[in-house]
Amino acid sequence: MEKLINDFSFGLFFWVAIIFTVLIFILRKFAWKPILSSLDEREEGIQGALDAAENAKKELENLQADNERILNEARAERDGLLKEAREMKANILAKAEEEATVQTDKMISKAKEVIAAEKKAAVADLKNQVAGLSVEIAEKVVKNELSDKDKQLALVETLLKDATLN
């Protein structure tokens, strides 16, 4: 203990106090402050970058979700359009078919009418012709029969026979 007290030097104490205090102030000004603020800045920068990355990731996720949604919507719309188109096509086809049927039916019935009329005319014509022909034939036959006296007598006979029977 005595030795320690003996070793104690006020001169050295003075120098330690001076040097240490001055060192604190000089180092604080030229080293610690710039170092610590640079470290803080860097850490804030890193934190900021991390946050920004996180935000970007979130945004990207949102964007992806949006894209997905838009794509789905587009797909649905396309499907709807296709369906509509298909329906329209079917409608058009059905309508056309119907129209065609109606038209054909009309044409057929008209044709039938025409045919019937033609037929009627043809039959009437035929009837007239047959009647004419029959008269002609009968004329010729009569002419033929009356040209011969015997035959005229036979005929009269026959006719008389029939008439008698009646």
């Binding site: 070793d7 104690f8 030097s9 050295l12 240490f20 604080r28 030229f30 610590l36 640079s38």
Partner: protein, 396 residues
């Protein structure tokens, strides 16, 4: 809590080993040189000039040393004592038989009815009287005494000189070491600070220093003082940490500085810490000392003096811990080096050198760890005391 402190200790060890491996490469091979330095250095011991015969142990040591080799136990003890003490010049090595010293003198600044400035070379390592500013001074056991022209010293019964002592403001070896350390810190951390202007990642020495700054901030200051208030004390904590650490490391080099193992140095740092803690103390802090809340009145009365004692023991423990650890380290290293000379007969020269080398390197490596650890502990405790002083007691 346990896990936290464990991880803290672990982190400390990791950083310590890092520094250890970093410096081990340069430190260890220097040991043998250091041995020789110390051996020869002794002959420049200013004790040697204590010519007045006396029964005092110091004087006897000094007398025995005069002109001879350091090879007895007493001489080794005296030599270690001499190394541990401050001195007025830096002696790298000496040749005792020829009486030559290699080193450099330092300025001597005395306040003796006015400022007297000279050089320590005028003392001739205590062998002669120096005339500085018209007065005569003599160096005895590392202290400057005012004498007459012949350099007569008179002693009391304890063999302490009774001569008048001027106020000694000399740039001693320790002051010189502190100035060098301050300069190194300024250069190192100044370059680190400048490095940030070129980019966020430091280059060169800054790569090594930056994690240490972060370590002090994140492992010492923030957990002990708290996120909100630590910033104000960072200047003090960083300075004290690196100042002590670098001085500890400087003490391991063969220059033979022993600043942190000097009671004056640790006392001054402890006093500065004490003052900072007291001036940071808030109302709660003083209330906890003088009128402890939450205990019965008789207990309050008993606790107040105990707390007051605690106020003083805290810086006292800071002072003694650093001083004792570093002094012990230096003593052990030098004692092991002395094995070469003391056990020459039983181990032989080769045996002595190898034992001394192996143990010396081993202890020096441990000292590297201690150098960091003591800087860490001093800073840790200082921030802990500051943390206690600025703590907000919300629960009261």
């Amino acid at each position: 809590m346990g896990a936290q402190s464990l991880s803290k200790i672990f982190a400390t060890l990791v950083v310590s080993f890092f520094s250890l491996t970093l410096f081990a490469g340069t430190e260890a091979p220097e040991n043998p040189i250091q041995h020789h330095d110390h051996k020869d250095d002794h002959h420049g011991d200013p004790h040697a000039h204590a010519a007045t015969p006396s029964s005092n142990l110091h004087a006897k040591d000094a007398h025995a040393n005069h002109g001879g080799a350091v090879d007895t136990k007493e001489e080794v003890d005296a030599y270690i004592q001499h190394h541990l003490a401050d001195s007025h010049d830096v002696v790298l090595w000496s040749d005792g038989e020829k009486g030559t010293h290699v080193g450099f003198p330092l300025p001597v600044i005395l306040w003796d009815g006015g400022l007297k400035v000279g050089m320590s070379s005028q003392f001739h390592h205590g062998e002669s009287v120096a005339t500085i500013g018209g007065n005569h001074y003599k160096l005895f056991h590392g202290k400057v005494y005012k004498t007459d022209a012949k350099g007569t010293l008179s002693y009391d019964e304890h063999h302490h000189p009774t001569n008048e002592k001027p106020f000694d403001l000399s740039i001693t070896k320790n002051v010189f070491a502190m100035l060098v350390t301050g300069l190194l810190l300024l250069l190192g951390f100044g370059s680190l600070a400048k490095g940030y202007k070129n980019g966020p990642i430091p280059k060169g020495i800054g790569r090594f220093l930056e994690p240490l700054v972060l370590y002090v901030r994140d492992e010492i200051a923030k957990p002990n003082i708290g996120e909100r208030k630590y910033r104000k004390y960072m200047g003090f904590l960083l300075t004290i940490f690196f100042f002590i650490w670098l001085l500890n490391l400087l003490g391991l080099t063969p220059f033979g500085f022993n600043v942190t193992g000097n009671i004056t140095f640790t006392a001054c740092l402890a006093l500065i810490t004490f003052l900072i803690v007291q001036f940071s103390g808030n109302k709660d802090y003083w209330k906890h000392i003088f009128w402890m809340p939450g205990v019965p009145v008789p207990m309050k009365i008993i606790l107040a003096p105990i707390e007051l004692i605690g106020l003083v023991t805290k810086p006292f423990s800071l002072m003694v811990r650093l001083f004792a650890n570093i002094t012990a380290g230096h003593s052990v290293v030098m004692g092991i080096i002395a094995v070469i000379y003391l056990m020459k007969d039983s181990l032989g020269l080769v045996g002595g050198i190898s034992v001394s080398m192996i143990l010396g390197i081993f202890i020096n490596l441990i000292e590297l760890l201690v150098a960091f650890l003591q800087a860490y502990i001093f800073t840790m405790l200082a921030s802990l005391f500051i943390g206690m002083a600025v703590e907000e007691h919300d629960h009261h």
